[in-house]
């Protein structure tokens, strides 16, 4: 299938008092129509900033998109004038955020917030939009949809609020849904509800989904392809089964070892990764993971490894061949 979105060389930086933070350092990826892509990484790895850059939601200043292009349906999202971007944002690409409380306007009813994009992007009249809003609320499984349109965000529980958020994101049947840790603030039984809902809607609408998370478990049951990010770089990417069966980057291996599994047979010590993720005040000279890596050798300090092919659809940025136990040429 054709690429729906093609991102090349994306770089985003933030000016801070302590210097320029290089949050995203040359990210390349593509997304096919209807595909679900998972992006995994710890806080500060640049996964959210990557997505906010694509949506042009980086506050400028202090942030700047320093380089790159992102082709979506023939347009470069990074160069589009803001007015045109507004026609894409929320209509063709929409986003669901982590905290459903802070992403709503607390003084407007849910109904008003749901109908606004419909009137704006789809040119619906007030009553048309209201009808559609009720449909959307029912679609995401909110009981008594019609009455609840008059409620304010604080009158909904966390799980219900996230459902409304999803209803809002889907209002204009987007081609891409970007979900930025949408279940992190929710309990595990509610998280399961939301994941099922997104899977169901994805298959019904046929949209592509980019799901950002730090939870390797969620991605396992949801995504077709996974990218692992560290310090603003993509350090490994592969189809989901390949990545979990055959992780190649020491960081990916470390992450998987640091997770206790619900189905593991015996109790073993967790393999922790020593040290902390870095804050990048300049582009990495060597590999950004080198200071925490168990396999580090000379070359890692001198050259930052690019993403290299390791299998048919598997790429990894590491100078060390973990499987063979020796350095790559």
């Amino acid at each position: 299938m054709a690429d729906l979105l093609d991102v090349q060389g994306l770089e985003t930086q933030f000016k801070t008092r302590d210097g320029v933070v290089h949050a995203v350092n040359g990210v390349d990826f593509s997304l096919k129509e209807g595909e679900t892509l998972g992006i995994v990484g710890e806080s500060g790895c640049g996964k959210s900033v990557t997505m906010l850059s694509l949506m042009r939601l980086i506050p400028t200043p202090p942030g700047t998109i320093a380089a790159g292009r992102a082709i979506f349906q023939g347009h470069d999202l990074l160069k589009l004038p803001m007015e045109e971007m507004q026609h894409i944002r929320g209509a063709r690409i929409s986003m669901v955020f982590q905290d459903p409380m802070t992403s709503f306007n607390p003084v407007l009813t849910i109904g008003r917030q749901l109908t606004e994009p419909l009137e704006l992007h789809m040119g619906m009249s007030g009553s048309q939009a209201r009808g559609r809003a009720i449909e959307l609320m029912q679609m995401v499984g909110i009981p008594q949809a019609e009455e609840r349109l008059n409620d304010y965000p604080h009158q909904f529980s966390g799980g219900m609020r996230q459902r409304v958020m999803i209803a809002m994101a889907l209002a204009c049947t987007p081609q891409i849904l970007i979900a930025d840790e949408p279940t992190t603030a929710l309990d595990v039984t509610i998280q399961a509800q939301i994941i099922e809902l997104v899977k169901h809607l994805r298959d019904e609408i046929g949209m592509a989904v980019i799901w950002i998370t730090h939870d390797l478990g969620i991605i396992a049951g949801l995504a077709e392809r996974v990218m692992v990010m560290y310090a603003g770089y993509i350090i490994e990417a592969a189809p989901v089964k390949e990545l979990y069966k055959n992780p190649l980057h020491p960081y990916t291996i470390g992450l998987m070892g640091s997770l206790p599994r619900l189905d593991s047979k015996d109790r073993h010590r967790l393999t922790s990764i020593d040290g902390l993720p870095p804050v990048m005040y300049e582009k990495a000279k060597g590999c950004p993971f080198a200071p925490r890596c168990a396999y580090v050798f000379e070359r890692c300090w001198k050259e930052n490894p690019p993403l290299m092919r390791a299998g048919p659809e598997h790429t990894v940025a590491c100078w060390w061949d973990v499987k063979e136990g020796r350095a790559h040429e």
Binding site: E42, L255, R267, P277
Partner: protein
């Protein structure tokens, strides 16, 4: 039931928070039933896991055990002493033996105190050490939790989340307690850092023979660290068993749903798993459902569940459950 080596015994613990109305003449109009009759015991040297979703009362249980909240009724026996009956100086002396590690390493350390002051404070408060002895002890504690002694004069904001949690652990260890209540000690930390702190807690347990009450919502982590586990829902414990029993043969429908909802980091396993999706949200603890509290979301609820509170029964050795249909 064998009750040898029991360090802590909780009997029918209840904690209700009053809801008041009125400005001058306040009257109580209701109560949040945060903890509603919880009983369990913890053996010396074990890790007892307490899991449940937000608002189920697990944190309140932990704090009520330490008498940070005074219980509405019920008893907490630490060894031979009923903590609910003592107060003042007597209680303060008991507190030496039980400490707490908090969830939020940002909020639980005083930003105006140096690390040395934070860790040293319990030593001076309890008259255990003075002067240079405090400094020595602090340095020793820092090395135990894997921090450099050079950090002693720094302030909490200079540390990362994982390092702050290590400071919190050092403070809890300062008085050489027997019991440590760990209230979601890792949920604010990144995945790679979580493992560091959990490994530290396990090492310290081995080294000092500590007993943990480990409160968390992360079922995988609780399974990893605990020897016995209790599952809470809306103020009550619905199931309690040894780790392998609870995770291998969950009996309560809530435990079953909870376990099935946890994602496993393996796409092949995920493909084959059957997931029990619970309908709706947790009811309000102000007005909990009659009979069994889980019945409003239970996939197999019957009439009796609304009429009668299920008995707390031991269905097999060390495996307790509160459900009419088990």
């Amino acid at each position: 039931m064998t009750q040898d080596n029991v360090l802590l015994r909780v009997e029918n613990l209840v904690k209700h928070f009053p809801i008041n109305r009125g400005i001058i003449f306040q009257r109580q109009v209701g109560a949040v039933h945060a903890v509603d009759g919880v009983s369990f015991f913890i053996r010396k040297g074990e890790t007892f896991g307490l899991v449940g979703e937000s608002g189920c009362g697990k944190t309140t249980t932990g704090r009520t055990i330490l008498q940070l909240y005074r219980p509405s009724s019920g008893h907490v026996y630490f060894g031979e002493t009923d903590l609910t009956r003592i107060r003042g100086e007597e209680l303060r002396r008991m507190r030496r033996h039980m400490q707490m590690i908090f969830q939020d390493p940002y909020a639980s350390l005083n930003p105006r105190m140096t690390v040395a002051e934070i860790i040293g404070e319990p030593l001076t408060v309890h008259h255990i050490a003075q002067g240079s002895e405090v400094t020595e002890r602090v340095q020793h504690l820092l090395s135990i939790v894997g921090l450099s002694a050079a950090f002693a004069d720094r302030y909490p904001h200079e540390f990362s989340g994982g390092q702050r949690q290590r400071v919190g652990v050092a403070r809890a260890l300062a008085l050489q307690p027997e019991l440590i209540v760990c209230d979601e000690p890792i949920s604010a930390l990144d995945v790679s850092i979580q493992a560091q702190v959990v490994n530290l807690l396990e090492d310290l347990q081995q080294q000092f023979g500590l007993t943990y009450l480990f409160i968390a919502h992360d079922l995988s982590m609780v399974r990893h660290i605990s020897s016995r586990v209790a599952v809470m829902y809306l103020g009550v414990i619905v199931e309690l068993a040894t780790r392998d029993d609870l995770y291998g043969h969950p009996l309560h429908p809530y435990t079953q749903a909870l376990l099935s909802a946890v994602p496993v980091a393996d796409p092949v396993v995920e493909e084959r798993r059957h997931r029990i999706i619970l309908e709706g949200d947790v009811p309000s603890p102000v007005d909990p459902p009659s009979g069994c509290r889980f019945r409003t979301r239970c996939p197999i609820a019957r009439e009796i569940c609304a009429e009668k509170v299920p008995d707390w029964r031991e269905v097999s050795p060390e495996h307790w459950v509160a459900c009419h249909l088990v």
